[in-house]
Amino acid sequence: MQKIKFVTGKGGVGKSIVAASLALKEAKRGQRVLLIELGEHSFYADFFGMPEIQFKPQRLAQNLDVSIWDGGRCLREYAQHLVKIQSLTDMFFDNPVMRTFVNAAPALAELAIVGKATSGHRHVGPELPYDQIIIDTFATGHFLALLRAPLGMAEAVSFGPMGEQSMNIHRVLMNPELTSFTVVAIAEELVITETQELIDVLDHEFKIKPQVVVNKCVENQLTEQAVEHSAVSAEWKHYLSLKISGRNSAIRRWPKAQLLPLVMSTEPWQIVNQLVQTMEAP
């Protein structure tokens, strides 16, 4: 059964790199994985130094493909699936009024994105031959909009294919057997607070209990005491003890969180591989 995972978090916490690492970890244990980024501008192309990343999946590593989805493209694919006739779909999307409309009404585009993500379970649209699909989704606010889109649309339009599909999409998203969520944070007080607010909304509004990942932590064996007794300047001591107290505060808040280290490298595969190693450690 295909598993869907959404990865979100506040801007600047490194959620895309964490999503890629989660995907690589699963691929390494033999799962066929599709890593998806959303939007029109690719992050992974820049990060992994690829010429471009497209809607059509491309090989990133063994068992691991990557692609970029934008709402318009997903909508077009869905339309093609329903309408069946290519020339008619083209006519629809090339029509300037429709183009403007689809462009401006992202409720449709967002619906098409979550629609495609859940298409395997709803038996709609082209097959996605993967065991897992991992989606590096938008940061907090837009992520919630994405999650709210299906139910919102189902409430606005309760009859016809739109309402029915929306309701089905919502059901797949809310089924913990099929869909899981990961929230990425870093160990700083302000980010911890904001991340907790997101976790609370997910819980109250959707009964979703996400996995929490705390990224860019200082190494576990570094303690406040060790810093106190070390032979470094007061400024460095202060700097490091702040990072340690941030990490400890994240652990107190989320005892079950996965802690990931600050990887001191600018080489993409080195960063991702080191994060995977940490995730695999018992």
């Binding site: 992050f43 990060f47 294919p161 007080e189 600018t266």
Partner: protein, 350 residues
């Protein structure tokens, strides 16, 4: 280079997580300390900073921090602002009620691409014409991509153009197919109906039928706002972090801002290096101290990032006034953080 202090409006833009809201508040405090009446407008989804500053809801309130002038702030409530705009723009309250009750409007007004940006600009414009402030600073809404902010008014404008509205309005007036003469148009509608169902199309037609009463005002407002944004009274400030991806995005955004014909000279690199630490100084101690070993690796890593930033700084030379702000203690309180930032910014913008 234009002096930032001469701006009537400052637009703070940049990608998510770089500290735009803090920088906006700190710029506000810095100029208020110089004696100005400054308003900071923010769409902070977590409302954290805003709450600490004592800003609630959609209202403009004073933040009692400034030494000489006065500092005001407001969180923009996107839905409320859009609803208010429609109530003002429609000729009768009955017409307004019809739009506000439309289910599709309720769904669209919060998620419509660009509606957050539009309402931010609407609020900004309202404050600008009120002439109550010497300076207004807008912390731009978090976008999927930072450049979306620049494109969004056009998207909204295109949607409510007469062309589009007429198209969707016709079915409501004369039954679904009656007025649709053109064969191609008919086919396109049929596809929309297959995709969405007739109830959706009904809601849509109903919505656009009522749009008629305020679409002129919306177009006018979008044009007025655009004129304000490209006028010399407005200056753009780009805020960025030091991650490679953020710097690439910043370069792209900088090009787009200039291409759009906006006045833009100042770039702020936030958290460029740790405060008070000399990264050039090698750390060595009694071999085997894990803290020293860790920090030496960290120092080299931070140095590598600083060097990478150097390339970005070199490219900016002569083109922009680029300011590097250190990473301050992340655990000091929000208010104190804004004060410290304002003092630091003052060194560069005085």
């Amino acid at each position: 280079m234009r002096q930032l202090a001469n701006a009537k409006v400052i637009i703070c833009c940049g990608s998510g997580g770089v500290g735009k809201t803090s920088i906006s508040a700190a710029l506000g405090l810095m100029f208020a300390n110089e004696g100005k009446q400054v308003l900071v407008l923010t769409i902070d989804p977590a409302k954290r900073l805003a709450t600490t500053l004592g800003i609630v809801d959609n209202d403009i309130v004073e933040i009692p921090m400034a030494k000489n002038g006065r500092l005001f702030g407001a969180i923009i409530d996107s839905k409320k602002t859009f609803d208010l705009f429609i109530e003002k723009a429609t000729r009768s309250s009955a017409a307004a009620a019809k739009i506000l009750d439309n289910k599709l409007y309720q769904q669209l007004s919060t998620t419509l691409n660009g509606s957050q940006e539009f309402t931010a600009l609407e609020k900004l414009y309202e404050a600008y014409v009120s002439q109550k402030f010497d300076m207004i600073i807008l912390d731009t809404p978090p976008a999927k991509h930072a450049v979306d902010f620049l494109n969004s008014p056009q998207k909204i404008s295109a949607l409510f153009s007469d062309n589009v509205a007429k198209w969707f309005r016709e079915p409501a007036k004369g039954g679904f197919w009656v007025s649709v003469v053109h064969q191609g148009t008919k086919r396109v509608f049929k596809v929309l109906e297959t995709l969405t169902g007739s109830e959706f199309i009904g809601q849509l037609s109903d919505f656009f039928a009522h749009v008629e009463s305020w679409q002129d005002k919306l177009q006018t407002r979008i044009n007025e706002v655009h004129r304000l944004l490209v006028s010399p009274a407005t200056q753009f400030v780009l805020v960025t972090g030091t991650d490679q991806a953020k710097l690439k995005e910043a370069e792209y955004l900088a090009r787009e801002i200039r291409k759009g014909g906006y006045h833009f000279d100042h770039v702020i690199v936030n958290r460029a290096f740790p405060y008070g630490i000399d990264l050039q100084k090698v750390l060595s101690g009694l071999g085997g101290d894990p803290v020293v070993n860790y920090l030496e690796r960290l120092r080299l890593h931070l140095l590598e990032k600083v060097n990478y930033l150097g390339k970005f700084v070199d490219k900016a030379k002569g083109n922009y006034h680029l300011v590097q702000i250190p990473e301050f203690d992340a655990n000091i309180s929000d208010l104190e953080g804004v004060r410290v930032l304002a003092e630091e910014l003052k060194k560069h913008f005085a």
